[in-house]
Amino acid sequence: MAAGSAQAAVELDRDTLLGMYETMMQIRTFEDLAGKNFAAGLVPGFVHLYAGEEAVAVGICSQLTDNDFITSTHRGHGHCIAKGVDIAGMVAELMGKSTGVCKGKGGSMHIADVEKGMLGANGIVGGGIPLACGAALTARTLGTGGVAVCFFGDGAANQGTFHEGLNLAAIWNLPVVFVCENNGYAESTPVRYHCAASDIANRAGAYEIPGVVVDGLDVFAVYEAAGEAIARARRGDGPSLLEAKTYRFYGHFQGDQVTYRTADELELYKQRDPIVALRKAIVDRGIAGEDQLNAIDARVTEQLDDAWSAAKAAPFPEPEEALTDVYVTY
């Protein structure tokens, strides 16, 4: 499917489109700076960057509200930003500062904001899948009208929790959308090796729920397919599995030498950069000009630069902070 060929491309209004573009740029800029500052030694631990996959998080989360929940993965920055988590607080969290969204206790892999419906990045592959079923059970039991969207990678599709979660959601008819971000690799291992299914979406058939493959580099295609799945869940018609074929521009983690894929392969996907494609669609359709898009880019750059400056200036937590927040009461 060529970029922008979906019906959504012509139906989305100007504000929505520019908003999606800005969010995708926020994610890209966030990740580029995270990589750069990780290399500079400003980020403890390790980071897994989402650059290249922006169309998935934004195509889906732009159709959710704070009343809806998402679960995420170790590659979760993009999901957080798309779901509205505070960017300055995220940057501070990466640095382990007291002003981080988790007060420096979670780091890159555990950024969360339950108030925003963001139930956490997750360091366990497939760990968030049952949690999303639980969030959907809450929505159904309390009649909130909300849905749960569960992001996971191609690697997680081989975990037991994937199969347990899809089965549970199917038999309970839960309002949940399972979104497999198939970026071609589970760590260094190609999907063609680690997965017996040519399309992970085929596994939906085992649970008799809809399974759809979508071009994860095309934000319009993602938007449209996700819209159907989300609407279905909201109607009470049950779960769906959406497989977005996507690509990560960086390695599994920063420091990964990425010896398992070729420069040609990376270049091929960079030619299909989802942000470039959206930008071109916006300009081609006369929705906004290059100047207006450049102004958005400049605004995003300034926002991220300010966030890093603030995080660098912020204090680390006091050591005794390590002892708090284990229990509500103990």
Partner: protein
């Protein structure tokens, strides 16, 4: 006017059932999830009736009152439904999940300790996880190696989890009510051998606070800290010892995490001797933890080495004579006390 809470005689199992009923009546966000907790889901003649009410009948009758939307039979999929309970707890429900036997924790431990127990901390205190996981423990019915363990020590080791080990019907009711009302992840360990035991249980909806031990027998000569069913074994041993002129004080910690250190230390300060009785395996266990705590904080009050009577470091055997050998007996407790008094 003095008011006293009326009590009735009921079994440990009935007391747990009553606590669940009270909690579900008072809070519509309390839902139950588990394998066969009603049973017979989608069977035409069991629409609002249970086939089993749990494998031991502990949840019997609840689906009739609360319906299948709040008493949710699950597939045999521990990671799936325990994880769903955790996710539901983080988003506004107050679920009570049943892990049929604690030995099955290997199927769902990631969801308990990597997700539920760590979520609040990793999120900087901006979330809570008010889920209770009820589970069966204990040897004594020849259920063999995969249906008989105690394993509460594994959970007490992990921050973010509270561990409750009731030994009487009254404690089971009061502590389960507190567990469900608690805003943290609570493991509630029901000893299957105790399900049929009877005791006086208060009417009403009052909970028993977590982290408060109960002195089940007062004595001056030795402190016996006993966990779960071992409280009964210790009380039987105390009767034998009393005939010899040795008065044992039997302390039931009731919760292993949090642990009421003060009650244990105060008792040891009086008796100067400590024996810990624990049906769990002995390495890195509740027994070693309590012994270490007293050695650390109460060493000056001790007149004898701390003793432990525990299960051996083996899986639970099947054959009745082997299993009887495995579970700490009153005779072993009496012998251990004689060594230090």
């Amino acid at each position: 006017m003095v008011t006293e809470t009326a009590t009735r005689t009921m079994t440990y199992q009935q007391a747990i059932n009553e606590a669940l009923q009270i909690a579900m009546r008072e809070d519509p966000t309390v839902v139950l999830l588990g394998e066969d907790i009603a049973g017979g889901a989608m069977v035409d003649h069991l629409v609002n009736d249970d086939a089993w009410g749990g494998p031991m009948g502990v949840t019997k009758g609840l689906v009739q009152e609360f319906g299948r939307d709040r008493v949710l039979d699950t597939p045999i999929t521990e990671a799936g439904f325990i994880g769903a309970a955790v996710g539901a707890a983080a988003t506004g429900l107050r679920p009570v999940a049943e892990l049929m036997f604690v030995d099955f924790f290997g199927c769902c431990m990631d969801q308990i300790f990597d997700q539920g127990a760590k979520l609040r901390y990793m999120f900087g205190g901006k979330a809570k996880c008010p889920v209770t996981i009820r589970t069966q423990i204990g040897a004594g019915v020849s259920a063999a190696g995969q249906h008989s363990g105690c394993h509460y020590s594994v959970f007490a080791h992990m921050p973010g989890i509270k561990c409750i080990v009731p030994s009487t019907p009254a404690d089971a009711k009061g502590l389960l009510l507190s567990a469900i009302r608690d805003d943290d992840l609570v493991m509630f360990f029901e000893n299957k051998v105790l399900y049929g035991t009877k005791g006086d249980v208060p009417e009403g909806d009052e909970g028993i606070p977590l982290g408060v031990a109960d002195i089940k027998r007062v004595g001056d000569d030795v402190t016996i800290v006993a966990i779960s069913r071992m409280v009964q074994q210790a009380l039987a041993a105390a009767d034998t010892l009393a005939a010899e002129g040795i008065e044992a004080e039997v302390i039931d910690p009731r919760t292993l995490s949090p642990l009421d250190e003060e009650t244990i230390l105060s008792s040891v300060a009086k008796t100067h001797r400590l024996l810990v009785v624990d049906e769990d395996n002995p390495r890195c266990s509740a027994a070693t933890d309590i012994a270490a705590m007293v050695a650390d904080k109460g060493f000056d009050t001790l007149d004898a080495p701390i003793k432990r009577v525990t299960a051996p470091h083996t899986p639970v055997p099947f054959s009745p004579p082997l299993e009887q050998f495995y579970v700490p007996s009153p005779d072993r407790i009496v012998d251990a006390v004689r060594e230090i008094v």
